[in-house]
């Protein structure tokens, strides 16, 4: 029940944010195209090197970094609220 309510609240908040936040494409289309082309070109080397596993490892590292940095930021925010004068990340 508790998490049911929490999930519904999260869903409502996400909806609210989704309606409030602007749709900005901060990357030019040429850049995303370049990434797409780069990915396709990269995969052509899969026969000699395991690009697929490399991608999986990179995704893992990126996800770790995102969570790790988020955690550090949250902790530093808590420390700031508790009296630290600076935000040390």
């Amino acid at each position: 029940m508790i998490f049911t309510i929490i999930f519904y609240i999260i869903g409502i908040l996400v909806l609210v944010f989704a309606n409030l936040l602007p749709v900005w494409n901060i990357y030019p289309e040429a850049m995303t195209d370049a990434f797409s082309y780069f990915g396709a070109s990269l995969m052509k080397l899969n026969f000699i090197f395991d690009i697929y596993t490399l991608c999986a490892a990179l995704v893992l590292v990126l996800q770790f970094e995102a969570l790790y940095m988020t955690t550090k930021i949250l902790i530093s925010i808590i420390h700031t609220i508790r009296g630290n004068k600076t935000i040390d990340v």
């Binding site: 996400v14 780069f38 590292v61 925010i77």
Partner: protein
Amino acid sequence: MTKNEPLKCARKIIGVLAIGFFLFFAAKSVSAANSEIIRFSVWGTGFGTTYDGQGSTVNCYDNFLNPNCEFSVGVSAQQFSYTNRRAMMLLMSVRDKDWINSSTTIMAYYLGANKTTDNYYAIGASVSTTTISIFDSPDYFLNSPEKLSRISDDYYLEEVDKMYYTRWRSFTLNTAGKQFMQDNIGKKVIFTIFSGYDQNQEYIPYTPGTATAYDYYYEGYPITEWQPYIISEEIFSTSTQGNINFNNSSCCADQACTIPINFDNFLNGSTLNWSIDPLICNALGDGDYSVKLDAFNKWPASITINPQAEGVHTLCAWNSGGVADKSLYNIQLNFYNGTSSEYCLPIVFETPGFCTDEFLNCGDFDLTGSLWSNIFCGIKQAGCWLVVPASSSISWVKEVSPKIQNKFPFSAYFDLINSMKSGLSMAEYDDRSGTFGLPMYDKASSSFYMVNVLNASSTEKAIGKDNAILFRKTQTYFIWLFASLYILFRLAPKK
């Protein structure tokens, strides 16, 4: 503006960003937890490659979000040697990657149907009279709805067009009168819907032997791919009292079937009996399996049924007096009537877990029963009611989470990742058909051309097939080693 106002403003901004990050990762984690899928594809075989009835071993790679896997495909000569009959190989999609293990079985079915005029397609396989064709990837069928229109002779989905967002789409799942498996057990169809930003899975239960209409509503980004799979719960167990856990395994017709089981707080001195008759749980059974449990075989053990027969088997527990004590599991082994040693079926079972029906099944409230049992049962039920979210709420978060992915600042991540993903998926993820060439100059035509110096078979030719596979595996190990080392050093405290 006072001296502290910039700091307060910064705190507010950081606070909003932190909430945003939290919401994003919460939604992402919920979404990820529900979208895990492993797709097989055959590595090293080109489209249309056929196996002429000899045993062949192929490797598989799943999508890059999941670890690599391997499996072997055994195709025996007699299995597909019937003319004018169809055989198909159904590459299974599974929900849980932990389910993949050495005993994971690719189901190869021999269909008794005599179809010579219709042109049917199966996911991951093509059918001919004497051979079975293995496509290099089920992805071949993506964006080809006409090829997805028939999954097998017996189960098919109506032909659909590529779907777009904010549209109702109705599917009709039909089962023909003729079934290649005994159709008295539960089956499900799993849809994997890929959009530009997410992938969803929808499970469609249906009553075998009937047509089931299913309305699917997707509001989000244009659906770029979709794949239907049939998940056949060929062998399943239902438990009334969950003290035995079956480990993943598979059973083959006409072969000994070993099912590893864990005994947990099982009745000491009880006799575990394996009976073929679901309605009779007596000491005689069919004699397939009978063992007396004691304190020494309480923990992981295995039961072997040899030979197992098609039908419902009941695992019974006996007390020392030889009187049926309780019927624990019904395990249904269903094989195609024309049994062959090649027909192996995975055991699909529901493991008793936290807050499952089995966990909560502690009987009706009984004033004459044990007070502690009643209290414990109440605590379990109240606790699960309190902390376990309803599936509808998880679905709700999963449904709304894609809406925020193209909004700033989340678009900064998803735009980049999705463009990269689309590029990676443009090439087959198991594609080994690429070549490495050097530019050369042709004097006659005064033009450059590429001389291929390396291709997929170069490594095998140089160091042999086994070494090439070893080389490939070693690459994988090193990649993960470096990734783990990076994370370890990142977490190491700074001096």
